[in-house]
Symmetry: C2
Subunit: 441 residues, 2 copies
Amino acid sequence: MRFDRAVPSIDMRADDFILISVDDHIAEPADMFEGHVPAKYADQAPRVVDLPDGSQQWFYGEIEGRNLGLNAVAGKPPEFFNVNPTRYDEMRPGCYDVHERVRDMSAGGQLAGLNFPNWTGFSGQVLNMGPDREVNLVMIRAYNDWHVDEWCHAYPERFIPCGIVPLFDVEEAAKEVHRLADKGCHAITFSENPAGLGMPSIHTDAWDPLFAACSDTGTVLCCHVGSSSKSVGTTPDAPPGVAMSLSSAMSIFTLGDLMWATFWQRFPDIKFALTEGDVGWIPYFLQRAEHALDRHNGWMKHESPNGKSPSEIFHDNVLCCFINDGVGIQLLDRFNVDNLCWESDYPHSDSSWPNAPESCEELFGGVADDLTNKITHQNAMRHYQFDPFSIRPREQCTAGALRAEATDVDTVTHVGRRADDSDIEAWDRIRGVRPKAKAKA
Amino acid sequence: MRFDRAVPSIDMRADDFILISVDDHIAEPADMFEGHVPAKYADQAPRVVDLPDGSQQWFYGEIEGRNLGLNAVAGKPPEFFNVNPTRYDEMRPGCYDVHERVRDMSAGGQLAGLNFPNWTGFSGQVLNMGPDREVNLVMIRAYNDWHVDEWCHAYPERFIPCGIVPLFDVEEAAKEVHRLADKGCHAITFSENPAGLGMPSIHTDAWDPLFAACSDTGTVLCCHVGSSSKSVGTTPDAPPGVAMSLSSAMSIFTLGDLMWATFWQRFPDIKFALTEGDVGWIPYFLQRAEHALDRHNGWMKHESPNGKSPSEIFHDNVLCCFINDGVGIQLLDRFNVDNLCWESDYPHSDSSWPNAPESCEELFGGVADDLTNKITHQNAMRHYQFDPFSIRPREQCTAGALRAEATDVDTVTHVGRRADDSDIEAWDRIRGVRPKAKAKA
């Protein structure tokens, strides 16, 4: 029990929150590779293609990028959420333009954010999949240079940088972690389950060079839901609500792997983050893991790394985050509140933007201010070595102060297309449903 | 919020609990088919075979039954838990002998239990898999006759009957539900995901005749973890603790399917039960489902059956249960306490036997007696149409009264084999690990 319910609680108002999100996304701009790819490789750089159906699609050689659809809906009314691919001009510019992004963040009362990729895959899978590993490495470095030097450094007090790494070559990945750290970037997006990508699991020692580099540089390994290129589902003919409700189950698997991994014996200090998985389900699985250790270790013979049980590993080494998770807050006494963070998920469909301050006021009612502040920004600052207050005075970082600077931002997105049957059809295609099989058994 | 925390709480002592488990198991006795299979089919009845390695194994024709191992460890110290198959004489007689079972239940302070199969598979899969459907049907009926007439009726105040059905023939399954109901059996073990067994999913209308029969007879469809013949895992080389910690994830998938199913429109009153999945994770997924409906229904276009949202469906129609789930109790106000039940899971490895009264005293401390009584026995009695008090006066049904009748029972099991490397090897075989792949990537 790490949270004392007896701590006096003084409810914070929406305007008082300082919000740093550990999970936002960029719909990477079409010109992202310009100036970052050596001339020799310029014609191999990924590009945006206008397709005959009117949509736009990234291609890396022959490889299609992840579609935009639900990943770029910020500001749209739900009936305008599209599963189908869309075009840049059908999303609000804050999705891809850093200046507009910062204005949107201010209008939403958000000080800063850590941004994951969109079309490149949440762990940069697409840039890892090219047939020529040398070219992949060039493009991954170009992504990182664009992301850190161009996007994040445009407003260094507003962005926590997060790099991607060549997962196909662990020694090169370790080098890239050092190169990123030298740029001030202390987060990478790892995979929630590298075995899902056809790579060695975290139960091998294959990742040791990467883990060593993260340990040396204090780099957090983020495991974003979907970063194994797998998704959760029951049957192909299940209604979409099933998979939409179960997405966090991918993080359950990641938590399971992390709690029982043995690499902690070799790297006791590295930190992993469960990204976009929410937290309200975590206490049950910690309880269950302790039960399994207590009940089954007669035959499992698990050797606790450095004497730490599965839930102790979680409490000490695994960060987690949520958008708006009332169940998680009700169970706050079962978490290490030094490792809990808040996220916005802008511009994805789950985001609370532009109403995060109001949803936080409701969510954190009854939680002591010092704990609230840890969760909403202090933990993110410490874990990611990020200090916006050295650039922007703390009192100018509150939701109220930021919103006062962006009163002209229209938070409703007026471009786009009303969802229709083509979106359900797109969902079915993604899930592999055969149209005929759907209606009847 | 269906649970009023203001209800005064008077802590119950271990001796005062009345415990009815909705999930125990029988290690089916070797002579179970005797007297229940017509002479014409007698030589096709499943049988126990002594294998050269000293273990015993059920065979239904060429089909191997599920192994016993961790499913028959009641009373053993954890270092004697075996994953490997075992022999009947290496388990305590309460696993397979009804008279000894009742003595064990009394010694554990437990009034009654609903028993699932063991070797036949938790939804009777093995008896559904034979090449001749007519023979399968004979054996399924024989199982049910043995289970209801012989096992349960030996002590009708101590057992809630639960049948298996021919999942391969929905019309025959419906008939068997009626036949079972006529015998006083109001539970069947359905599959947590019939599509996992190669059958139509619950999102088709293929199951309508079975659901209609359950609706007509007030029969609960139980969905036991593992009853889709699938298990949860991350990678084959993961330590066994991972899968042991994640087993409830199978129930998460079942909950997802049930919350979004549309058959409720046709069968608004039937009840499903999530069995052995615990409950502490449920509130998060209810919250998430409501979010998905609110945020995504612009394109999903889910039509709520009878106007009920996913979490309303759960609260009204889905029973759930737990062995010892402190997280679930902490979240009690997020459940419909009329649909929560307690389970023992005797003789499986997760069971709290013989200490359930003491673990319940601790678990239900702070919960009002009327709610505790609903969870520990009243809900099970109502949902399964089971009335032990008509046979045995209520005051003789408490843990204390039952234990007083069984003071001579030795609750430590002295037969068996200390777990060793062969158990880990058995685990690896079950999980499909290639020995060479395990050591290194």
